[in-house]
Symmetry: C2
Subunit: 430 residues, 2 copies
């Protein structure tokens, strides 16, 4: 008897097979029970003599029997069980109905997260993380082709990358240490080693925000590359990278995308707008009412308005906002030669910023000037400054928030839904 | 003029090319200077009119010129520079000689780590991390083929996996939280979601050890899978996984391995020995003098003796030690049906433990019994225990220490050498 999964079962039609999984759903009809069996690949209907064994949702079982054409759905198969063996004696009744709710949205966010080990087993909830795994795979695949090297930088650090605010502090053998808010300094140092590097890893922000867009621990997909022209080198790279990710998702996650009615963008080019022009457009044409009258950045409303505009006018769900004022970017951002702008950009996707990036300062003296201008102390950044004294090439990079990208792609209402076990102001468990 | 890298240059022999990189080494000979140029792929000799520009090691440059056959080394090429443009004004003299020392071993570990952004640029030091990137790639590639799904679990957690010792504590918005010592509980929860999962991520041990084998932050390559027979399912999987990793390294990192004179093991099977039998062998035949007379575990000396024995007797650099007493393993380890052993194992590689793994308890009642037996409180593990109440399949997993695997493979003397920016009792920077 062949041991199969739900992915390979159909090639054994008319044969006796053995398969394992969890009972996802069960429906009794007189002497028969109809089970939906869930395994790592998908789902299969199993017909059982219901007196055979106590059948409950989530029970792990091994089933053997004959695979036959589905009685009512042409092209589908069902397994007529001859033997079904439970693999656990557990018998508690489920506090949430994993199989019934289409996307578990009716449950509400607190319960969705409180019962996370259970709600993740829902078909649509699980799909979110299948998609994230595929995004990571496509990200790495593209970058390896482009001769990037994967790095792993420490998350316990001695200083913040932006001067000390919003850091989680910890006691490190009697010394004060922090959780890294970004691999920024390390990935820049690695440019002189490998020229092109990437990292997917956790980053930490001790922000008290409680919004649908913020997590206190999230996955940052970081890129840094040397010998660039300017920020346009990075913009071009990321456009190709996203096109590759979207194409791979379409190819390998069609089932999961369909659960969210998700249309993946087809990318060739992404429009760009300078921040100052975006402000004019927003105020003069799109009716933006900024939260703070003098704000130089874009608030969530502005991000949504801009994206709607470009979706309508240029048919693109993404837009780069460029030329941010140098003063609102970190000290390592490369200022423009003239004026107050910097060689930096954000990428907005369907109304939300998912990427921040830009060219960095690569001259030691200019970094000292930048720190001084901002009233920051060079001695706090001695480790970082070290490698600029011997020569760094023009370089830059970007960071994509994995959970935000996923949220926007699937149209989730809260970024917490795109984190397996999210961390926010109120939640450190499960 | 074609823009090339050191990897593609040779296909443009006799042509004019443009290439960028850092000056890795420079040697003047009268009016000529011979540069070794380093880029992301490798090295290339460049011949320059030395009056053209000030040439210093580590200066980033763009060079254009004619690629010709090397004067003295047949089959190699050198670039006769027509133009060389520095990309940085930096001019500090290097505190360490990056290109001279073969593996920077003469420098000593403290200097090697203090000047990490520079010493990583050394040919052999850089090679270590090229190899680690390839190990990660091969690990993921194999597991995706085996239908494992990548997961990302939180590193900020509410409880330790083994009861609270050796945890780094942090203040999380006024609450006590910890850095995860392992993704153990989360990866087990994910078995009921994806059946087979893996994660490469940082883990944290607040151990005050100062040994060549320990790091306080290291990369754990974690695997967990459901519906296993017993621990032998995991042992078989890992043997195939390591064979794949080693084969991929041989194929893609031959240059880097050669710098360490490293022979990669060819694996078909890995011998196994029960811990009790290992004790007998060590005491009766291998002259082991245990550090602690009554120790149930193996000390470093025992690990070395055992590996030497199996290398000599069975020609294998790896050996599984199985059947550890249940009492010395964590509470979630599956005890044997009879006797005091557990379904667990360690894998030793050239004298050092690189993997710990085993089958886990999957019945709720047995977990409660285990916690009680050890005097631990079930309420501290409520989140973890939750999913066992509804049915978990027989499952287990393992964790490989990336830096230890690399250390043993390359014969490095200290595991810190296999961490980009290591964290130990004295070091949180660079």
């Amino acid at each position: 008897m062949k041991k199969v999964t739900t992915a390979t079962a159909s090639t054994y039609a008319g044969q006796r097979i053995k398969i394992h999984g969890h009972i996802h759903a069960v429906r009794s009809l007189g002497a028969l029970a109809f089970i939906i069996l869930r395994d790592r690949n998908g789902f299969l209907q199993v017909v059982v003599n219901s007196s055979a064994v106590v059948l409950r949702p989530e029970l792990p079982v091994v089933v053997s029997g004959l695979l036959q054409a589905h009685k009512t759905k042409p092209g589908e198969w069902e397994l007529h069980a001859e033997e079904i063996t439970p693999l656990s004696q557990a018998c508690a009744a489920l506090p949430v109905e994993i199989s019934k709710e289409k996307r578990m949205e009716g449950l509400g966010l607190p319960a969705l997260l409180d019962y996370r080990p259970l709600t993740l087993r829902n078909r649509a909830v699980r799909a979110i993380f299948k998609i994230e795994a595929e995004i990571c795979r496509a990200f790495r695949e593209f970058l390896v082709q482009e001769e990037f090297t994967e790095i792993h930088t420490p998350k316990i650090v001695a200083t913040g990358t932006e001067g000390g605010a919003q850091l989680f502090a910890l006691d490190y053998f009697g010394r004060q240490a922090y959780l890294a808010q970004s691999p920024q300094f390390y990935k820049q140092m690695m440019v002189a080693v490998f020229e092109r590097v990437y990292e997917i890893g956790p980053v930490y922000r001790a922000e008290e925000h409680n919004t649908p867009r913020h997590l206190n621990e999230y996955l940052s997909m970081d890129i840094e590359m040397g010998f660039i022209e300017n920020e346009q080198t990075l913009i071009n790279l990321q456009t190709k990278l996203l096109a590759h990710i979207f194409a791979q998702l379409q190819e390998n996650c069609a089932f999961e995308l369909a659960l969210y009615g998700c249309k993946v963008p087809t990318l060739t080019q992404i429009p760009q707008i300078k921040l100052a022009d975006a402000h004019l457009l927003l105020r003069n044409k799109l009716g933006w009412q900024p939260r703070e009258a003098e704000s130089e950045d874009l608030d969530p409303e502005a991000e949504r308005l801009l994206c709607s505009y470009f979706a309508q006018e240029e048919g693109c769900d993404l837009v780069y906002v460029t030329d941010y004022p140098w003063a609102v970017r970190p000290f390592y951002a490369m200022p423009a030669k003239a004026g107050k702008a910097s060689h930096s950009f954000d990428l907005l996707f369907r109304g939300l910023e998912i990427t921040t990036g830009g060219q960095r300062i690569h001259e030691y003296d200019q970094l000292l000037w930048s720190l001084e201008t901002r009233g920051m102390k060079a001695e706090h950044f001695a480790d970082y400054l070290q490698c600029f004294r011997y020569g760094m090439p023009p370089h830059g990079g970007l960071a994509i928030g994995l959970e935000r990208l996923t949220k926007q792609l699937l149209g989730l209402s809260n970024v917490r839904q795109a984190s397996l076990f999210p961390r926010d102001g109120n939640r450190i468990s499960p």
